[in-house]
Amino acid sequence: MSKSLLDINGLSKHFQLGGGRELKAVQNFTLDIKKGETVGLVGESGCGKTTAGRTIMRLYEPTAGSMIYDGVDIAKLSKRQFKAYRRRMQMIFQDPYASLNPRLTVLDIVGEALDIHGLAHGKAERKKRVEELLELVGLNAEHASRYPHEFSGGQRQRIGITRALAVNPEFVVCDEPISALDVSIQAQIINQLIDLQKQLGLTYLFVAHDLSMVKYVSDRVAVMYLGKIVELASSEELYDYPQHPYTKALLSAIPEPDPSAAREKERIVLSGDLPSPINPPSGCPFRTRCPAATEKCAAEVPELRETRPGHLAACHYA
């Protein structure tokens, strides 16, 4: 295995809600991301996957834990010191309609990245660089003078990608980059991301809730539930041999294109809703919805442990 690029250990993010209450959005998040790989991060809405991504980008200050990026713990750096790392780590956002400032042209949106880090000298060089970047992601150079509202969702997402790539990052957090797009456009954007990864040697943390897409792009997949990673394995392994009952339920929900296979497929339907992260269940967070929960699950918190070679799961019975 190649060298690790970002080694996240015990990362937590708790939000103070007032009245002494605390929302534990991310707890004890431990993940080792290797250089050049794509790690998928899946889970249902509200499980803390976006918060995890944003905490890694230091949009939120981590409550606890360390993030060793290329030998330096970036969780401990001051904002000023971290600025240098912002050139190396970038983020692609979920909603292409909200992630581009409607008052700026594409030139200025992408150019801002160059301005902040002083990457272009003079207007002509800035323009040229932005045009190169736009062509890199499949847009035209003359799109630079346009405003975001003149573009379609897929084109806007490409502009978001261009902005992230403008500083030449090596690590990109993709925060559900396709969930706001049409299915046909999703494939385009995913292929674009994969091409760019090959071309530029990028490392991705791919946050999503669409399991089939995550399987397609990821080398490894982490499954999150209520702020915790409950299962982590290579994507083949995870899809073929899911260990955690939550992962099994998620996988059974992937639509099957073949109708005869779909008829035979057994769906695991979870009862109840995601419990509130303000007041999580004791023991295993999943026990309130788990078909196989026992008394042990209420009493003891299951730790992530290796249940098959290279396959971690947090379940007493995996």
């Binding site: 944003r54 980008m57 949009l59 600025k83 912002r86 050139r87 970038q90 983020m91 956002f93 979920q94 909603d95 909200a98 992630s99 581009l100 400032n101 409607p102 008052r103 700026l104 949106i109 801002e112 990245a113 902040i116 880090h117 499949g138 847009l139 035209n140 799109h143 003078s145 346009r146 405003y147 509202h149 003149e150 573009f151 084109q155 978001g160 902005r163 500083v167 494939a187 385009q188 995913i190 292929n191 994969i194 399987k215 397609y216 792009v217 083949e236």
Partner: protein
């Protein structure tokens, strides 16, 4: 790896076809102007403002009369060819006096709006952007200021300072910006978690850049509307203070003092009340409809 036997392999695109956009490229300001031009009522308001401003500049300059010379033989004259708007109780030409009043009223309105604009934006943006304790303290301060009866502040200030234009503008600005600050605060709070603000933060932008490049320009719609709507309210406040005798002093007259002077004789010499009151109403109406039109023009989502 499934990645290489790619089930989503892209089609080859025709060379040079690209993704073309055929619509003409417009800057944000061109767009706003275009939309504003389509709004008849707002354009009417705009032209009324232009005409009033032009009259205020040109009439006292071109007229054979001035605003201070008494002519007691011709006092309280109804409108004639010599005096289009008639004369007042000292025989001064009402047309010239009304237009001098327009100068005062417009100046006060615009100055008050500009001061509100700057103080309100800076204070409101800081409150909204930093949030938490900063917001709490600054918000309480503005609430305290807001809770002091406005008229009391003005009258006290006029006791300390001499009644003059400056005093009126200062008095109006002491509390006038608070509304603007609250509007800006609300806007910034709703905008600061927009993904484009986060994206800028991820790129390493500082507070200033995020505030002035991303947040405030996107809050400009409500800000401009508030500014245009604060002009008529400042004009009205000035007229109101002048009406109470707290405003500009004779021989200079604002609309408020002219209305105040004419009120005793309004049944006998109604034109002395009518002309300043008419221009006061017209100007306020024009600013209000123009402000409404601007609000519609500034919202790109309303674009047809």
């Amino acid at each position: 790896m499934t990645r290489d036997d790619n089930p989503f392999a892209p089609l080859q695109r025709e060379a040079g076809a690209g993704e073309k956009i055929t619509r003409k490229s417009l800057t944000a300001w061109q767009d706003i102007r275009y939309r504003l031009k389509g709004n008849k009522l707002a354009m009417f308001g705009f032209w009324v403002i232009i005409v009033v401003v032009a009259l205020a500049i040109l009439v006292p300059w071109l007229s054979v009369h001035d605003h201070y010379s008494n002519d007691l033989v011709n006092k309280n004259k109804a409108p004639t060819w010599g005096h289009w708007f008639g004369t007042d109780d000292l025989g001064r030409d009402m047309l010239v006096r009304t237009m001098m009043g327009a100068r005062i009223s417009l100046f006060v309105g615009v100055m008050a709006a500009i001061i509100d604009f700057f103080i309100g934006i800076i204070y409101g943006a800081i409150m909204g952007y930093f949030g938490g304790k900063v917001d709490e303290i600054m918000n309480r301060l503005s609430e305290i200021l807001y809770a002091i009866p406005y008229l009391l502040v003005v009258i006290l200030l006029l006791v300390v300072m001499e009644p003059s234009l400056t005093t009126i503008i200062v008095a109006m600005s002491i509390t006038g910006w608070i509304n603007m600050a609250w509007i800006v605060r609300g806007q910034i709070i709703s905008l600061k978690n927009q993904e484009y603000a986060l994206a800028s933060q991820v790129l390493g932008a500082g507070h200033m850049r995020i505030m002035f490049r991303h947040l405030i320009p996107n809050a400009m719609g409500p800000i401009i509307v508030t500014v245009t709507l604060s002009v008529p309210s400042a004009i009205f406040t000035e007229a109101f203070l002048s009406f109470l005798g707290l405003g500009v002093q004779s021989p200079v007259a604002s609309w408020g003092t002219m209305i105040s002077d004419s009120i005793g004789a309004m049944t006998i010499f109604p034109w002395r009340l009518f002309f300043p009151a008419f221009f006061l109403c017209l100007t306020m109406f024009a600013f209000n409809v123009f402000g409404d039109g601007l609000r519609d023009a500034f919202d790109p989502k309303l674009k047809k």
